[in-house]
């Protein structure tokens, strides 16, 4: 079963890293093949950034862009003013939004889940250059809907960052995993 995920974020929020952590966690959790890739344009801090991930139990031969995602992850609600984040999403798809608002606040043609990843990032001190980095909490929230164990996500995070950084990012992911609501 192929799952295709699109991440919308801003340069510096870690969308590309989120896609990579998800891919790593999915492989640890027993999926056969994964991909994680960015869309490269004129990326710079603060500018809209897209990243993509594929997870499958068969070999993935696809090398094209993801145009009909199963899940869209929005790291920054400000992007929703300028980007149609539900573009191409499957009818039974899901949009996961980083916000303190409930899912009922949003009006999309598919299901919506919300999690306040920014508050989690601030509380867990997931800050880089004064910006809350919400990518690891968002991967935690996402894992819940992909049936990926939070243990695999935490392991993938701790492989990427050793010591305290790994611990607090793993904690952020777990809090989001438990807090995300539909």
């Amino acid at each position: 079963m192929l799952k295709e995920i699109v991440f919308h974020g801003r340069g510096g929020q870690g969308a590309v890293t989120a896609a990579n952590i998800l891919a790593s966690a999915a492989l640890k959790d027993g999926h056969k093949d994964v991909q994680a890739f960015p869309f490269f344009g004129a990326e710079r801090r603060g500018a809209p950034v897209r990243a993509f991930a594929r997870i499958s139990d068969e070999e993935i031969n696809l090398r094209s862009q993801i145009k009909e995602p199963d899940i869209v992850v929005v790291l920054d609600t400000g992007l929703m003013d300028v980007i149609d984040v539900d573009s191409g999403i499957k009818k039974d798809g899901l949009i996961i939004i980083n916000t303190n608002m409930p899912p009922s606040h949003f009006n999309f043609r598919c299901k919506v889940a919300t999690v306040d990843a920014t508050s989690i990032a601030i509380e867990e001190n997931l800050m880089v250059s004064g910006i809350p980095v919400v990518n690891t909490p968002m991967v935690g929230a996402l894992a819940k809907f992909l049936g990926i164990s939070i243990e695999a996500v935490k392991e993938a995070i701790k492989e990427r960052w050793h010591g305290e950084a790994g611990e607090k990012n793993a904690r952020g992911a777990e809090i989001a995993y438990n807090m995300v609501r539909t």
Partner: protein, 370 residues
């Protein structure tokens, strides 16, 4: 050990594990993270190589030529305009019969300035005498670099080899890759023993003037070596399979036996085409795929199909698709240009191309034929 990483990091890892003595490096998007990673390996002591930071790609190849002529293993990597700036030295490396291995991360040529995938850079080097391998996955990038050294350094070949893969589509995409143990790689690829070398204690003249009567012999011997490379590439791919569990040939066939039309493509488009063939079969169409892994030497004798659909990510302006024009004499061949400058080519596009070919159409996909 299974790792997940980008093709560029995997290329650097493969190069490291091949143990080159000299690496010449000049960065260019989207190749940059290959040489960055190698710089890290040298700096942290994981790789004992001379890392030469040159002032241009022309110098990068010149440095590899000089080093390879002293009988050691060399590596460099480039893309697009970098490869083009090297062009003179690319010829030199091949005519001097130096088994240099280079990665080319395929990228379009400007203007208009474009950093995305396009095969015109490396396919434009087709007449230089380099072996060219096109990889379709990060695993194949790793495996092909290790094999490239063994092929290039074979005494029956002694030609440089280029391992090519799509910019961003592979270079910056993370995929799982099985990385063998260093000791196994060492067994497969022992230290390079050159047939000859520049040695101040035993001076020889090298690259001297050669008169018209002899020059043709040089070219002839090079062409013969390239022909022999077909056999060596197949043997090395099979030996690699015995050792590491993944075999490679000059082409990879998928559902070709009973196919009405066989799609011929390279690199990422060829991987995507596999998905298209699967889906076309589900619709009752007898589609097949021949993924052309090796472009030089051109294994045309393996492409024995009545009807072929060639998808090109490279254009010879004024003639047409590069691959198409190399293969059109083999039978009933339909040529499509697609994906230039990184334009997305999905399985749905390839399925559409198949249907267009069935109707006898061909041309620039999305412009002339839709």
């Amino acid at each position: 050990m299974k790792v997940i990483d980008t093709a560029n990091h995997i290329a650097a890892l493969a190069a490291k594990m091949a143990k080159p003595a000299v690496i010449a490096a000049y960065p260019i998007t989207p190749q940059t993270t290959v040489v960055e990673k190698l710089a890290q390996y040298v700096e942290n002591g994981e790789l004992n190589a001379r890392y030469v930071r040159v002032e241009s790609e022309h110098s990068a190849m010149a440095a590899c030529i000089g080093a390879a002529a002293t009988g050691v293993r060399t590596f460099t990597a480039t893309s697009s305009h970098g490869l083009l700036l090297m062009h003179e030295m690319i010829h030199w490396a091949a005519l001097a019969r130096l088994p240099i291995v280079m990665v080319n991360v395929n990228r379009a040529i400007g203007p208009g300035w474009n950093i995305w995938s396009d095969s015109n850079d490396s396919m434009g080097q087709r007449d230089t005498g380099w072996i060219q391998i096109y990889a379709s996955s990060n695993q194949e990038v790793y495996d092909s670099i290790i094999q490239a050294y063994k092929i290039a350094e074979n005494e029956e070949v002694m030609l440089p080899a280029m391992v090519c893969y799509d910019g961003f589509i592979l270079s910056h995409t993370s995929m799982p890759v099985e990385v063998p143990e260093q000791s196994k790689v060492d067994e497969f690829l022992p230290e390079f023993k050159s047939l000859w070398k520049l040695d101040v204690d035993k001076p020889i003249t090298h690259g001297n003037i050669i008169l018209p009567d002899d020059y043709m012999d040089v070219r002839y011997s090079m062409n013969e070596a390239m022909k022999r490379a077909k056999k060596i590439i197949a043997e090395v791919g099979e030996e690699y399979g015995k050792k590491f569990g993944r075999s490679y040939g000059l082409i990879e066939e998928y559902m070709t036996e009973d196919a009405d039309y066989v799609i011929v493509a390279t690199a990422a488009i060829a991987a995507e085409a596999k998905e298209a063939v699967k889906r076309l079969r589900e619709r009752g169409k007898k589609a097949g795929l021949a993924r052309l892994r090796v472009f030089r030497p051109m294994p045309y004798e393996l492409l024995k199909y009545d009807k072929m659909i060639v998808i090109d990510r490279a254009i010879s302006v004024g003639l047409g698709g590069v691959l198409y024009n190399e293969l059109r004499w083999l039978g009933d061949v339909y040529g499509f240009i697609a994906g230039l400058g990184g334009k997305d080519v999905s399985y749905a596009d390839i399925m559409r191309i198949y249907e267009l070919a069935e109707k006898g159409k061909e041309g620039w996909y999305g412009i002339e034929v839709k």
